[in-house]
Symmetry: C2
Subunit: 507 residues, 2 copies
């Protein structure tokens, strides 16, 4: 969950400090007697739940390296069958396969769950604990954690959701809702084929019955246990702009000696020239022709939620966490958060040309690349934004500059009044977990696959518990929490149980 | 001889094809009888001369890695003593030591010789023959070559010059001129301390007596045996322009998640903005304030030599060699060569920011770097050009952008009518070697150390023979030439002998 997860971690961190106490603890569950039995079952299943996470981590599937993809797919199928799913199906795609599974207990409502079975690449040399051994480590301030690649992104939370199904069964109960599981193995490469999975007729038919789709998450703030409920996220288009002598017909086709600059055109200078037409001179606002045409301004409710978030979240903490002294235009915090949620961006992720090592090398490079991401807000689309960028460059004579799109997806939005969102908030509130309702993540995730036609469902993240280190060394997921405000594995398991009951019963 | 050598190789390649026959072979030496004895001595010394190159290659000195620097310095001192230099002195500098040596035979005139004992870094995995073993390899079309790091850059040609001194002594003759040798070990890192060596009082005093200074070279064109005699070279300033959140006080101090672009300034965009103020929109002409103030236009004689060169050199070959379809502004060949010699440049050697690997990574980089070289023509100076760049950026509000100079030197010029240049041309002509007199290399070398005060001497390259692959794998130097137009080790040795006699006798 590349982009979104990192952001989510940041967000809950920021949200946490100030959000405590905003929402009063809710009432105990109506089913509290039954819940006690389920909780006992979850506790009795703890060792098996831990092992389920560890065993899964030991099998890394990495789409970019075509590593263990069929194995990873089959593993999820086994996990689903083991958790009680009656129908479990491998779904082929143009890339790596996904999984569709249903657990139909004859309940009135259906709930959708999204899994990913792939993990991010890792370099064992950077880890303090071998990334595939999933060792249990004492992490001061957090408690016992499983450390390994995929611990929080996303196997730990996913396995915790499965632990909830195991606990229900062990306690002699059926889930209160039917469950449709969709799983892909290409999340870390941008979910290029996931739409093929959700639009398979039988998969789509099952999803259409669902109240919504959640991805299991474990992002409680260590400071106060707080979580965010996000009503959407920006879209993203990732691409490379490439200037080259080969395409341009001017300049060198390879790197040549820099003295030739006197008579040979420079693709690097050409790239600079093209880049500077894309944004305002301060680098902060896209000026690509028509870029803002489809942008929907924030609604009054979105502004209200952002104003609330501005009061809940610590600007000082945010600046420290980001290593930033001031926001764009020296905006005050509330205006900065409005801009964060509402402003589409064109960002330079990287620049690569010619010699990139220490010191210098006297070459005139034949090629220059800007790695770009464009963050999109409703109602922009990835396709339209890329087309506008292409047209903008063409109009200015930069037809030779390649626009090589590597991935991305549209913005996603979910109705605050949907049962999914209301059930999330209710579940958190009843446990006394501070909640920040956030109108739109500035990060991105492929939620639009669910929220846009033909699936057209609410979608979001849900989960208690805590982990961090996605895409980084020493990724971890808390299994025994030493922090009273943060749930361990059993508490997080019960969070999913509660959430399923909430979905089943909410008006 | 980083920059200049690569250029020189290019130049002779370009010059070669068309230069044949321009200069008629000269008369035989007056001293032809003696010369035959010297040649016999050179032939008898062949094995020792080959071994001298091989043994030297086996000891790589690399300043950037502080590898074998004292050893390399002592090695040159031994080589000099062995070749007959009576005074041999280690010259300390703020960096690595150099060598000063004199061979005073009581002749009327003195000649200066420049050596470097350092070599470029190498990766043995890229070589077809181990780079320190200096194996003798058959190279089709060239003959027997020594393959190894430093073979042509610059140990082979330097050792060939020493072979000339050995041959003279073996033939019972004194050199016809006294010789002052200056040697540094930091050429490949831009000669940062070489001026300290040449301005030592005793070194300077010896150099002041010289007709000029040459660096031994082996750059005969394989196509016709032609060489260039260069009357100067552009200067160069190499530097990094660095935009960073740390210096700017805006933007992030490290790489942060790219979603934050909506509220956080971008050092990468700032660098783009600063860069585009430095050159015309086509990227071809510096517009740094005052950059051209000190530029001296080409003289009528320089234009005449360039027009001659344009007729001697093949434009088609040049375009193929460079992989370039057209020159800047679609200039014709003669105008392109004028621009090559006369135009100062600001070139992007490299761009580095944020994520530079395959695909994308959603970060907002905290730092962006443009590696720049500025090529300077008389009467620009490196110091002045850098100061003007700094002032230009400051005036436009880019005071936060660092200008980190890593090396460089002023342009260098040598009078066409100096004894040094006339002796070079005469030596070549007498052997029937096609000569292109070139007013100014577009590349750079630290010749200004010699040509500017306080040394103020003519300086240039001299040498017959052939080698290539400086800074590249499989660097080689021809020892037995299968090409009748290109000299092998003995012929190149005799070239130095001839040249010393020419210097001794020319009016």
């Amino acid at each position: 969950m590349s982009d979104e997860l990192l952001l989510q971690n940041r967000r809950t961190l920021l949200a946490g400090a100030a959000a405590a106490g905003l929402f009063a603890p809710g009432l105990a569950f109506a089913q509290s007697g039954d819940m006690a039995a389920v909780r006992r079952a979850a506790e009795q299943g703890y060792d098996a739940s831990v092992k389920r996470i560890q065993d899964w981590i030991a099998l890394p599937s990495i789409a970019a390296e075509n590593l263990n993809m069929e194995e990873g797919c089959r593993y999820v199928m086994d996990l689903a069958r083991d958790a009680g799913f009656q129908h479990v199906e491998r779904i082929p795609t143009d890339g790596h396969p996904g999984v569709f599974a249903t657990l139909d207990v004859g309940a009135k409502r259906w709930m959708g769950i999204y899994f990913m079975y792939d993990v991010k690449q890792y370099d064992p040399a950077e880890w303090s604990s071998p990334p595939l051994e999933a060792r249990i480590v004492d992490k001061p301030g957090f408690g016992k954690v499983i450390m390994g690649r995929g611990a929080v992104n996303q196997k730990g939370p996913e396995a915790t959701f499965l632990a909830a199904l195991h606990a229900l069964r062990a306690a002699g109960r059926k889930p209160p809702v039917n469950i449709a599981l969709v799983c892909e193995g290409e999340e870390e490469i941008g979910s290029p084929n996931f739409r093929q999975i959700v639009t398979r007729p039988n998969v789509l038919a099952a999803l259409k019955k669902c109240e919504g789709v959640v991805i299991p998450a474990g992002w409680q703030s260590p400071s106060n246990g707080g979580v965010s409920v996000n009503l959407g996220a920006k879209g993203i288009a990732e691409l490379e702009l490439v200037a080259s002598g080969a395409k341009w017909g001017r300049g060198p086709k390879t790197d040549i000696h820099s003295s030739q600059k006197a008579i040979v055109d420079s693709p690097a200078w050409r790239l600079i020239q093209a880049l500077q037409t894309l944004v305002t001179p301060d680098g902060n606002t896209p000026v690509v022709d028509g870029f803002f045409d489809k942008v929907r301004p924030l609604t009054p409710r979105e502004k209200e939620l952002l104003a609330l978030a501005a009061r809940q979240m610590s600007e000082a903490d945010a600046k420290v966490a980001l290593g930033v002294d001031r926001w764009i235009d020296d905006l005050p915090w509330d205006k900065a958060l409005e801009r964060l949620a509402s402003q589409p961006t064109i960002n330079i992720e990287g620049l690569v040309s010619g010699y990139t090592g220490p010191g210098g090398k006297t070459i005139l490079p034949g090629r220059a690349v800007a790695k770009i991401d464009m963050r999109l807000v409703p109602n922009q689309t990835m396709e339209d934004a890329v087309a506008k960028l292409r047209a903008h460059l063409d109009k200015r004579g930069f037809s030779d500059i390649e626009v090589n799109v590597s991935g991305g997806y549209d913005p996603t939005e979910t109705d605050e009044n949907s049962r999914l969102i209301r059930a999330e908030i209710a579940t958190y509130e009843k446990r006394g977990v501070p909640v920040t309702v956030y109108p739109r993540l500035a990060g991105s995730w492929p939620g639009a696959v669910f929220t846009s036609p033909p699936v057209s469902l609410p979608a979001g993240q849900f989960g208690l518990g805590h982990g961090s280190g996605a895409h980084a060394p020493d990724e971890y997921y808390v299994i025994e929490s030493s922090n009273p405000k943060v749930e361990g594995l059993v508490g997080a398991t019960m969070g999913y149980v509660d959430f399923l009951y909430e979905i089943a019963s909410i008006r």
